[in-house]
């Protein structure tokens, strides 16, 4: 078992220890499916950890456990709130609800929204919930969508009618908008063309600053090398490798 402090003796932003997730499939004869098996890693404030692995290896399960969309079966997920350390694996649901959005941001693979909310308001919502005025929130939201090259005429349209890449940009903007202290990204740029992806990755660095700890699932090798500080490889529900990336991005 690892301790929850890193080599400098500092509390990392996130320390995951012995994290396992097993699903009991009652519908399929009570079969047990292993999603994650004894996963361990930590992420420091300002660090970007990329998660890679084959399809079905457990990458999304990992992010969902960190977000408590999946309830971990075993293990601890120590998150440093600044005031105290909370175990996201076992803390009560009210604590999770209050951390979500502003403290812990999650950009899922798919955008799930009420159909009739304009894109700019989808992005502005977490800002409003964390106390910004409606106008200020929309202002920031517009700025983010602009940086992501979303056509202006779509700002007030409903994402339900958008293309995959357009929706993904809305989803991305919403996730980063409140500058969460821990950001979980699940293939946030998979539907973007290379140029738009550049803008998205640049925005990530510029906008978030150097405090946010990021755990991001990516498929693209170049992207991983450029944005991440370290890479965690998952295979068949287990961590098989953690290594630093080649160098700093430009």
């Amino acid at each position: 078992m690892s301790t929850s402090t890193n080599s400098d003796g500092e509390q990392p932003r996130l320390a995951v220890t012995d994290l396992s997730k097993r699903f009991q499939m009652h519908v399929v004869d009570g079969r047990e499916v292993v999603g994650l098996d004894s996963v361990e890693f930590d992420v420091a404030a300002g660090e970007f950890l990329a998660v890679v692995g084959e399809s079905g290896s457990g990458k999304s399960s990992l992010l969902k456990c960190l977000h408590r969309t999946y309830e971990p079966t075993d293990g601890t997920i120590e998150y440093d709130t600044g005031d105290s350390v909370v175990d996201l694996a076992t803390c009560n649901e009210r604590t999770i609800l209050s951390l979500r959005g502003t403290d812990v941001g999650y950009v899922s693979q798919f955008l799930r929204e009420i159909p009739r909310v304009p894109a700019v308001d989808v992005v502005a919502r977490p800002l409003r919930e964390s106390g910004s005025s409606p106008e200020q929130a929309r202002e920031t939201a517009r700025g983010l969508l602009e940086r992501l090259q979303l056509p202006r005429e779509l700002f007030d349209a409903y994402p339900a009618t958008f293309s995959g890449g357009e929706r993904q940009r809305v989803n991305f903007a919403r996730g980063i908008a409140p500058r969460p202290r821990l950001l979980l990204l699940d293939e946030p740029t998979s539907a973007l063309d290379p140029e738009t992806r550049e803008h998205a990755l640049k925005l990530l660095r510029d906008y978030l600053g150097d405090d946010t700890a990021v755990v991001g699932v990516f498929h693209n090798h170049d992207v991983v090398e450029r944005v991440a500080d370290r890479v965690l490889t998952i295979d068949d529900a287990r961590v098989v490798d953690v290594r630093p990336t080649g160098g700093e991005s430009t």
Binding site: F23, Q24, M25, H26, V27, K64, H67, R68, T69, Y70, E71, E93, R94, I96, L97, R112, E113, I114, P115, R116, V117, E129
Partner: protein
Amino acid sequence: MTFLDADGLTKVYGEGCSACLATTGPEYDRNRCPECDSVVACADVSFEVRDGEVLGIVGESGSGKSSVAEILALDADATAGTATIRGHGDVLDADYQRRREIRDEHLGMVHQHVHDGLNLSFTGGGNVAEKLLSAGWRHYGDIRSRVRGLFEETEVPVDRMDDSAETYSGGMQRRVQIAKAIANDPGLVVLDEPTTGLDVSVQARVLDTFRRLQREQDVATVVVSHDLSVVRLLADRVLVMRQGRIVEAGLTDRVMEDPHHEYTQTLINSII
């Protein structure tokens, strides 16, 4: 802060006997007592709702969702259990006069059946005005402008205010119910199947309107629906009911994506 603390809500239709609770429920796959033939509509239902929080209740038809909603809205008596509302104690235990006051001033309900929620032979505006009158509003001009404001907020065309509610579309009627439910700035709103019977596009607008108002006013909400997508969009936490009992409870996304109980897994698989 906790606004509503419901503990052990139970509703038995019929005479009831000592075997009712022990012989019904999900493990027996029935809600009718084999001894006395009473129906246990809900039993031992406990939960808390905080200010600004939305609690969803899902389950198949007959699982007891509406029974819980009616108890909370003080539209039906409970056989057992308490519902403590901040500042008012156990409202199920209050006398008739007190219950009326609480219902008029602190609760709002959107009914599954429009006939339970609106008097369709009244005007739409009249339906909302009635709720204001019951909470002590008296000045005609104030009432009129408050109703107008509520119509604007819930996006019911203001120029239809004086038309009889039976001439409204289903979506408009639902909105008038929402206007009525929030008219007195209640601490708790209960919605029973808020979108059932509406076109998909109208459903989205009703949900969106409600969610905006709910967040602006920070009101504790219980939303009952057999439609998982409605609950997914509105609720922070969810209870899954079957044969009158809670079989699973948790964060909405957790219950939908990582259902633990066999019944919840079946329910979710049958939708997706």
